[in-house]
């Protein structure tokens, strides 16, 4: 018998099938813009930090509800009042989280396994979201950096728009004339992940959305 304790566990994403059920039949999108993609990023480390107002932790996080920022390789997302999600590679997140002052009513929960995550990127990304979510995805209402929670295809999701930065680093700035396509991190309860991935792919079919 193999010693089960000797087998190294490997993280399994809840999104086990990334095959688009239907070929992306694109309309109204020229071929050179067709880089509209949906990528599974569930394996990123996510730590939920909750800290009451006026704690040191709140000042360290320094992100208001509805906004996000990149700091020390992690994205801090102000996803609810007094509630932040820190997203990044495991080492970066733990380094960051270890520095958080725990004085006062501050708590941490590892959400890596609770929340699946996918990234939708492309010039038509907001048009895809517009089909599955009732929010206004214009840059006035949901600019780069915005964070919002909403129902996507009937699943509760936390969404971060980060066109110009990712965990790890800011994106290498492209030529100034080039349009930076919008990019959204969509996090949902792990158990819904496969359903949601498929639903978004399906909605994006008309814009040529492909799994990345």
């Amino acid at each position: 018998m193999v010693d089960p304790n000797s087998v190294n566990p490997v993280f399994e994403s809840p999104i086990t099938s990334t095959n688009s059920g239907s070929a992306g039949t694109s309309i109204g999108t020229s071929a050179d813009q067709a880089a509209l993609t949906l990528a599974d990023e569930s394996s990123l480390t996510k730590t939920l930090i909750r800290a009451e107002p006026r704690t040191k932790a709140e000042r360290q996080l320094d992100v208001v509800f509805g906004a996000s920022r990149l700091v020390d390789g992690v994205v801090i997302s102000g996803q609810r009042p007094s509630e932040w999600l820190v997203i990044g590679e495991a080492n970066d997140v733990s380094t960051f989280v270890d520095r958080i002052d725990r004085e006062g009513h501050v708590s941490l929960v590892d959400h890596t396994h609770s929340r699946a995550m996918m990234r939708l990127t492309g010039l038509d990304a907001s048009r895809v979201l517009e089909k599955v979510c009732s929010l206004d995805w214009s840059s006035e209402m949901t600019p780069n950096g915005a964070v919002v929670s909403a129902s996507v295809a009937k699943v509760g999701c936390d969404i971060v728009r980060n066109d110009t930065f990712r965990h790890g680093s800011a994106l290498a700035s492209s030529a100034p004339t080039e349009v930076i396509p919008p990019s959204y991190w969509i996090a949902c309860d792990r158990s819904f992940a496969q359903y949601l991935f498929d639903a978004i792919l399906d909605a994006g079919q008309e814009f040529g959305l492909l799994p990345a």
Partner: protein, 959 residues
């Protein structure tokens, strides 16, 4: 009859929208015909000489095109599996199979037309007055009557083709693409607004399209300008409704991929510019084929190059009627007589004797032969969208039509709906409206952005609200023409005549709403677009009142009918699965849907799964179990508030069971909570209660006790939960848990430990006993859930490990006598009824339901208690398994004493076992109950002393 006029295609017309190079073949009533691309079904049929399109609903009278547009009440056809297609609007497509509806056996020879002869007896409301006696015959009558149902036929095999939906957040939606609507859209877009311009028809331009060449040139120019300004143009699309806070529904019928797409637009401003709908005139014979409205004639000639008649009489009260005269003459139709209503002339009847118009009798008695009678007697203002914004239209007798009532901040109107004018005046009014809409949207947007956390910051104060400084359009005088000296049809789709209305009013149905209900006028598919004003006018006349005094009816959404497919769109039905689901599916699990969760009910033989678990060891995936991570110094206070029992002293490493009640004392949920650390707890709830209990906890924390420091975080699927049950469970877990001491003294029943399972860190394991066996429930980070599951199966192979499903778990818990909230309890079951009264601790200061539970305990203890008791029950005949919900009655009577709430054949005991709710006088142990089985026979059963049928002392689970 021979020599009857047949409409035909004209030579090329300068405004035609058909493409003569693209011929389309189709069938009508099984005859092959051809038309052109750009034809509507109506124009193609008319070009092929078709005059009779349908039969009327009640009297089966022959009907031809009257308005020849979307609203034509006579133009309903069946296209393949699509019933009730508006042939005046639907574009012709190659290979279309088009058939008439409501005909039997055929369009030309309709037997039910006999209804027409007895029409004088079939007055409105006649059904109410007949078929009363003998009452037993009514069902037979009803069967016959239902064969008279109008409309097309549903093919029940119609697939739900691709329907799509989309949300939009435009600054301005303009409903109507005539000159004013286009102008409004252009002006708003030029002012910086995001604009959607929605036109019901296939082309922008409205009435310009059937006007002069200059009109059409203007339409084309504005269309281009709208494009340049960045307006999103949606043709063949309809704004079907305006709901709360300018939630605007738009049905797009010409989407390239979807059959139809429903767009839900949160419009900051809505501009209503639908134009006007021409009104039919009421007179004898007004529904004969050959009677057409002026707009229909002009569209047919100018847009579709169809000659509608050879010899016409035109009743005109306005410039549109005059223009129809000119158009008819231009294409060689003899206009035998222009009857000028402005000069007091009138039409009294359109006459047969055949099925189509052969002559017209004028008001002065003159009779003129003709095959076409055109009327132009005024308009209905389609104020539906304004009605939906609470506007009530106001009648203006001078202009002989209704106008919008008061102003609405975010809903503006323009075009013919608001007044008359030259094209230039309409365009100017439209532009002013578009600018105002854009300015108001900018203010509203500023406000929303300023109040929305995630939005881009806005600078400066909110701009002042722009006032409506538009110059109003004028109102041209128009004669009031509703009904002639004769009676005719008012509601063409319902076959209701003015005579019916007068009769109904005399009977007392003399308010608009009662009249509507009694006669069904305005209730049919055209929903009042053509007939509302005439209905009101005829009622006003009957009551000797004015139209203002009578008032009008409220137009209800939708503006135009919407297919169920479009409303449904893509159907989103989220399904949740645990990390282990791929294994279950690969290993023969039969799934069950529990709420949104898809989970294994069993793997083929639930009884064998029970026996294996009781004998060896079984594992079940219980991931759906609700799990809440609780942190903070005040967690015990929260637990004390939520559960009925005590929580202030729970030691670290312990697990406790509790029930939760609502404030009315009714059982809400149950489960165990473990204390993992000083200020760290893990609560479990029932699977179905997970979301509710989370919200319930937040509610207490946020509204009642904001001073308590507790963070509640749902971790249901962050932790993959596996219950390991059976005599071998300790041995099995021991092989995978190097760092947890499983010795019963070190890790007793109702305790919790954290450690490594199969190489996975941060796992939680606790000992509980839902199944009644020695069992460990482990919670592992979900990304490793499948890994641990496989490791258990591998490590337990020699221990007889087998997975078990929900059904085996249900059997085992019933053997053990554990109740399930929501099955063994119901919406009225208070906590004492479950048998867990000792868990209600009234000496706590407060907890949810405390007040009611105090009274409930007193009631429960009294001899007259009416509260049911949950008891274990065993049928006398061990092979009889009463189905769940079987009623327990007093012997020899039908008096209900309770019911079976759970029931199974126990594989362990080899007999049937039950839980049930019974009245106090049937609850004593040893009581023999009478149970009514599904087939009506009765059987007996005994009330047991304890809930547990199996191992009542709990020796196994504590082992």
């Amino acid at each position: 009859m021979s020599g009857e006029f047949k409409p035909s295609r004209l030579g090329p017309q300068s405004g035609e929208v058909i493409d003569r190079s693209a011929t389309i073949r189709f069938t009508w009533d099984s005859k092959v015909m051809t038309g052109f691309a750009g034809d509507t079904i109506a124009s193609a049929l008319m070009a092929n000489g078709v005059r009779i399109v349908s039969r009327s609903m009640k009297y089966h009278r022959p009907r031809g095109y009257m308005t020849a547009d979307y609203w034509d009440p006579n133009g309903f056809v069946q296209v393949g599996d699509d019933p009730n297609v508006r042939s005046g609007h639907r574009l012709l497509e190659p290979g279309m199979t088009i058939d008439p509806q409501n005909v039997w056996p055929s369009l030309d020879h309709d037997v039910k037309a006999a209804n027409g002869f007895v029409g004088r007896f079939l007055t409105a409301g006649f059904y109410y007055k007949t078929f009363i006696r003998p009452q037993r015959l009514w069902p037979a009558f009803e069967k016959v009557l239902s064969t008279f149902a109008p409309g097309g036929t549903v093919d029940l095999d119609t697939p739900h083709r691709l329907h799509d939906k989309r949300y939009a957040h435009p600054d301005v939606v303009v409903a109507g693409g005539g000159p004013a609507g286009m102008a409004a859209a252009i002006a708003a877009a030029e002012a910086g607004a995001r604009v959607m311009l929605v036109e019901h028809e296939h082309h922008l331009g409205g009435h310009l399209l059937w006007g002069s060449d200059e009109d059409r040139a203007l339409a084309a120019k504005m269309r281009d300008a709208a494009d340049v300004a960045g307006v999103e143009i949606l043709t063949d699309s309809t704004v079907t409704g305006r709901y709360e806070d300018n939630w605007v529904s738009i049905v797009q019928r010409n989407h390239p991929l979807a059959v139809e797409r429903l767009i839900k637009a949160r419009a900051t401003s809505l501009v209503v510019a639908p134009g006007l709908i021409e009104r039919p005139y009421v007179f004898a014979g007004n529904d004969k084929p050959g009677v057409m409205l002026s707009g229909a004639v002009r569209r047919m000639i100018n847009m579709y190059a169809v000659k509608p008649g050879s010899r016409a009489v035109v009743l005109t009260a306005n410039a549109d009627g005059d223009a129809a005269v000119a158009d008819l003459r231009d294409v060689g139709v003899e206009v035998a007589r222009v009857v000028d209503a402005r000069a007091g002339e009138n039409v009294a009847s359109a006459n047969g004797p055949g099925r189509t118009v052969e002559s017209v009798t004028l008001g002065d008695g003159t009779s003129i032969d003709c095959d076409l009678l055109v009327t132009a007697v005024g308009w209905t203002a389609p104020t539906s969208l304004l009605n939906m914004a609470a506007d009530r239209p106001v009648y203006d007798a001078t202009a002989a039509r209704f106008f919008p009532g008061g102003p609405i901040d975010t809903v503006l109107s323009t075009g013919g709906l608001t007044g008359d004018g030259t094209v230039e005046q309409l365009v100017e009014h439209g532009r002013a409206t578009g600018r105002l809409a854009a300015e108001r949207s900018a203010v509203a947007k500023h406000r929303i952005q300023a109040h929305t956390a995630r939005a881009a910051p806005v600078s400066g104060d909110e701009p002042a609200w722009p006032h409506d400084l538009r110059a109003a359009l004028g109102r041209d005088p128009h004669p009031e023409l509703f009904r002639s000296t004769t009676h005719g049809i008012v509601d063409f789709s319902e076959d209701v005549s003015s005579k019916d209305l007068v009769g109904a009013a005399a009977e007392g149905f003399d308010s608009v709403e009662l009249l509507k209900r009694f006669t069904t006028a305005t209730m049919g598919p055209s929903q009042g677009k053509l007939e509302t004003v005439n209905t009101v006018a005829v009622l006003a006349e009957a009551r000797g009142e004015t139209i203002e005094e009578v008032g009008t009816t409220v137009w209800r959404p939708p503006y135009a009918p919407i297919t169920l497919g479009a409303l449904a769109g893509r159907i989103f039905e989220p399904v949740r699965v645990s990390s282990i689901q791929p294994w279950h599916e690969a290993n023969g699990a039969v799934d069950i849907l529990a709420g949104a969760w898809k989970r294994p009910e069993h793997y083929g033989d639930p009884a064998a799964e029970v026996m294996n678990t009781r004998t060896n060891v079984g594992i079940i995936d219980v991931t759906p179990l609700g799990k809440l991570d609780l942190q903070g110094p005040d967690v015990p206070k929260l637990l004390s508030q939520l559960y009925t029992n005590k929580w202030m002293q729970l030691p670290v490493g312990s697990v406790r069971y509790g029930i939760m009640c609502a404030e009315d004392g009714v059982v809400l949920d149950d489960g165990v909570t473990a204390r993992l650390g000083d200020e760290h707890y893990l609560m479990t709830t029932t699977s179905s209660g997970a979301a509710t209990i989370w919200e319930w906890a937040e509610n207490w924390l946020q509204t009642e006790h904001p001073e308590w420091q507790v963070h509640v975080t749902p971790v249901t699927t962050g932790l993959c939960s596996i219950n390991i049950a059976g005599p071998n469970s300790r041995t099995l877990l021991g092989r995978l848990c190097p760092d947890i001491d499983l010795d019963p003294d070190a890790f007793p029943y109702m305790h919790v430990r954290t450690g490594t399972v199969a190489g996975v860190d941060d796992c939680i394991a606790w000992r509980i006993g839902f199944t009644g066996e020695l069992s460990y429930e482990i919670h592992v980070p979900s990304g490793y859930g499948l890994h641990v599951w496989n490791a258990l199966l591998d490590a337990g192979a020699d221990l007889g490990i087998k997975p078990f499903g929900l059904e085996a778990q249900r059997i085992m818990r019933l053997e053990k006598g554990h109740f399930i909230v929501g099955q063994d309890t119901d919406g009225l079951t208070k906590a004492p009824s479950t048998g867990l009264a000792p868990l209600i601790k009234l000496d706590k200061d407060d907890f949810a339901g405390k007040a009611e539970l105090g009274w409930a305990l007193d009631e429960f203890a009294s001899a007259e208690s009416k509260a049911p008791r949950l008891v274990a029950i065993q049928p006398t005949d061990p092979t009889v398994v009463p189905h769940e919900a079987s009623q327990i009655v007093r012997a020899g009577t039908n008096e209900i004493l309770g019911r079976i709430t759970s029931s199974r054949m126990s594989p362990t005991l080899g007999r049937s076992i039950c839980l049930g709710q019974v009245a106090i006088d049937a609850a004593a142990p040893g009581t023999m109950l009478t149970i009514v089985l599904a087939d009506g026979t009765r059987t007996t059963a005994e009330v047991m002393a304890r809930h547990a049928h199996f191992d009542p002392e709990g020796e196994r689970l504590r082992g």
